[in-house]
């Protein structure tokens, strides 16, 4: 399959074209298969998403409810076969809570993305395509947001909006879109100069159609890479907010919150903070590795090397 695919690719001189989305992603998959590191990233990410979706159903214990009858017996148990990650001070199974936490993290990051991506996309498109005063206004506002460290700004917003998971999501969304505007705008500036845009204009194609049919599909790939990389960062940021008490409130099993709660018992009852922390670490790492891999794939210079790498 690969051979045939690459043959088409060489025949068609695809190196010189921007390449279609299908092409990008098919090629991406071929590369991922070849790079063990990126593959690991992909497995982690897929695993995280699956756990986020089905986690609460496969959890061996109820992650939230406290069984008051056996608190004294069960509280702060070290990892065992029954409780692989140990238990917390209320006797709840930490493994179940970490599993449930995957869903919370997935929800937060998806919510943030579902706001940040459309906003970034539309503003980036408009700024890049129209230029001039509109561009100036959009980019200066974006710059104001970007001039603060994202997390600090998120803390500020979150504190203003009041503690809670919802306000954390909102705060993160507010700080997340500006970088997407930049990425989309930069790509639009490149695509805008392509001749097929001019050809469309010469045919009398409407501006709206040019924007959404020609520019948007050709500008979206770098954004997708960035989003993949950022998923991990959002999870980390929301954990950080929860850690300092601004994000998820008890009894929501948020990873950052779990780490914070476990601090009281550290280092004697190390498992309380350790396993949620490990979950954060692995997930963020997974997204980062995958994103890095994707970025390399979509970088034309790398792609060239890939297509012409020597066969041993």
């Amino acid at each position: 399959m690969l051979k045939k695919f690459n043959r088409v690719l060489l025949k068609s001189n695809a190196l010189r074209s921007v390449g279609s989305i299908i092409y990008d992603w098919r090629l991406a998959f071929e590369v991922i298969k070849r790079s063990p590191l990126t593959m690991t990233g992909l497995i982690i990410v897929v695993g995280f998403i699956v756990l986020g979706a089905i986690g609460p159903y496969i959890a061996p214990y109820n992650p939230i409810e406290i069984d008051f009858s056996s608190i004294a017996l069960k509280r702060l148990q070290p990892p065992s076969l029954q409780h692989p990650f140990g238990t917390d001070e209320y006797g709840r199974d930490l493994f179940s809570r970490v599993l449930a936490g995957a869903r919370v993290s997935l929800m937060v990051s998806m919510a943030v993305m579902s706001i940040a991506i459309p906003v970034g996309l539309v503003l980036g498109l408009v700024a890049g395509y129209y230029g001039g005063v509109i561009d100036e206004i959009i980019m200066r506002v974006t710059d104001v947001f970007l001039s603060f460290p994202g997390l600090v700004l998120a803390i500020a917003f979150s504190a203003t909006l009041g503690a809670g998971l919802f306000s954390a999501m909102l705060a993160l969304s507010i700080v997340w879109w500006p970088s997407y505007v930049r990425v989309v705008r930069a790509q639009v500036l490149v695509v805008r100069e392509q001749l097929f845009i001019e050809a469309a204009k010469a045919m009398g194609v409407s501006t709206r159609r040019i924007l959404f049919k020609h520019i948007l599909p050709n500008s979206i790939t770098p954004l997708l890479v960035l989003v993949t990389l950022d998923f991990g960062s959002v999870i980390l940021a929301s954990s950080a907010l929860s850690f300092i008490g601004l994000g998820a409130q008890p009894p929501t099993p948020e990873w950052g919150r779990l780490v914070a709660d476990g601090r009281k018992w550290f280092p004697d009852k190390w498992w309380y903070s350790f396993f949620p922390g490990l979950a954060i670490l692995i997930t963020v790492l997974g997204f980062n590795i995958l994103g890095d891999g994707l970025r390399d794939i979509l970088d034309p210079r790398f792609r060239r090397r890939l297509e012409f790498r020597e066969v041993k």
Partner: protein, 324 residues
């Protein structure tokens, strides 16, 4: 060739691009600076010149893809500069353009079907025609087949892509097609196929071509009239045979004597007119006649007097002090 109807009349067209300094505009790139010419029905007008002479800008100006600073474009008696809305769409329907680079002129995310359907859709012609039948016919006209319809541009070679670009330009059965160096990125053998095809299509569809190129061989082969450009100005205009056999402007003479001829017996025996230096930057070009610093026949007055095109023989115009 006997056609005399003027399809396109361009008068005193001017486009300067400002070059911005830190605070003020540093100067202007005088890409097109007072250009006038006529194109006749069912003929090919070649606009020839070296890089940076403004020929590509001129191509875009003619179709109003960029707005000129000054001048008028009369298409079939209508002032294109005054068109808007429906009338402008009508103008767009009657004109087409083919670009030099077949790699960036096709949207890589669209299939050939979508690419060719777009102009028809834009002009609301889908109701009138059987789209599939129409597109297959269109593809056959440019030497491609039905099975190519559902492929993406990157599956085609440069020559095939250029055929697709030509098909797109022809989709609306235009009257005037601007061809901006359509063959300069292609190999010789493919170029010949393309030139022959363009000629056949012109004869069949009664098209008027404006052919932008730097290749004098193509001009001689394909064009009926030629306009020679140098630094934003037309220095000579006339019927191709006449201009090539009896060039008047020194720049045309220099160009014809410098162009490599694919025939050693001619190439090595002909007299060469030596010219020094290179075309200066179109940013602040020389005063007077723009060719005078390099001109082997320059007179002292050349740096002072800016000449305009003068008709020396019927439809043969030249802008040079030697013929005033």
């Amino acid at each position: 060739m006997s056609a005399t109807k003027v399809v396109l009349k361009v008068k005193n067209l001017r486009k300067w691009f400002p070059v911005k300094g830190v605070f003020f505009t540093k100067g202007f790139v005088k890409a097109v600076d007072g250009v006038s010419f006529e194109a006749y029905e069912e003929t090919t007008l070649a606009i020839v010149g070296e890089s940076g002479c403004g020929k590509t800008t001129l191509a875009r100006l003619i179709l109003r893809l960029i707005e000129p600073d000054e001048g008028s474009i009369i298409y079939n008696g209508v002032d294109v500069m005054k068109l808007s809305g429906k009338k402008l769409m009508e103008f767009r329907r009657k004109t087409g353009i083919v670009f030099q680079d077949p790699y960036s002129s096709l949207n890589p995310r669209m299939t050939i079907y979508e690419i060719l359907k777009e102009p028809l859709e834009t002009h609301g012609m889908l109701k009138e025609i059987d789209i599939n039948e129409y597109l297959v016919k269109l593809l056959e006209k440019v030497g491609l087949q039905k099975e190519h319809l559902y492929r993406y541009p990157h599956e085609f070679s440069g020559g095939q892509r250029q055929r697709i670009a030509i098909a797109r330009a022809l989709a609306l059965s235009p009257e005037l097609v601007v061809l901006d160096e359509p063959t300069s990125s292609l190999d010789v053998s493919v170029q010949a196929q393309m030139l022959n095809m363009l000629r056949d299509i012109q004869a069949a569809d009664k098209l008027t071509y404006i052919f932008i190129t730097h290749d004098l061989g193509i001009v001689r082969y394909l064009a009926h009239y030629v306009a020679v450009m140098y630094l934003g100005k037309i220095v000579e205009y006339g019927p191709v045979e006449e201009v090539f056999e009896k060039p008047l402007h020194p720049y045309t003479k220099v160009l014809l004597s410098a162009v490599p001829i694919p025939d050693p017996s001619i190439a090595r025996s002909r007299a060469r007119i030596k010219v020094i230096g290179e075309p200066p930057s179109p940013l602040n070009p020389p005063l007077g006649c723009r060719f005078h610093p390099r001109c082997p026949y320059a007179l002292s007055d050349c740096s002072r007097r800016e000449m305009s095109l003068v008709e020396v023989e019927k439809r043969h115009l030249v802008s040079c002090i030697l013929y005033s």
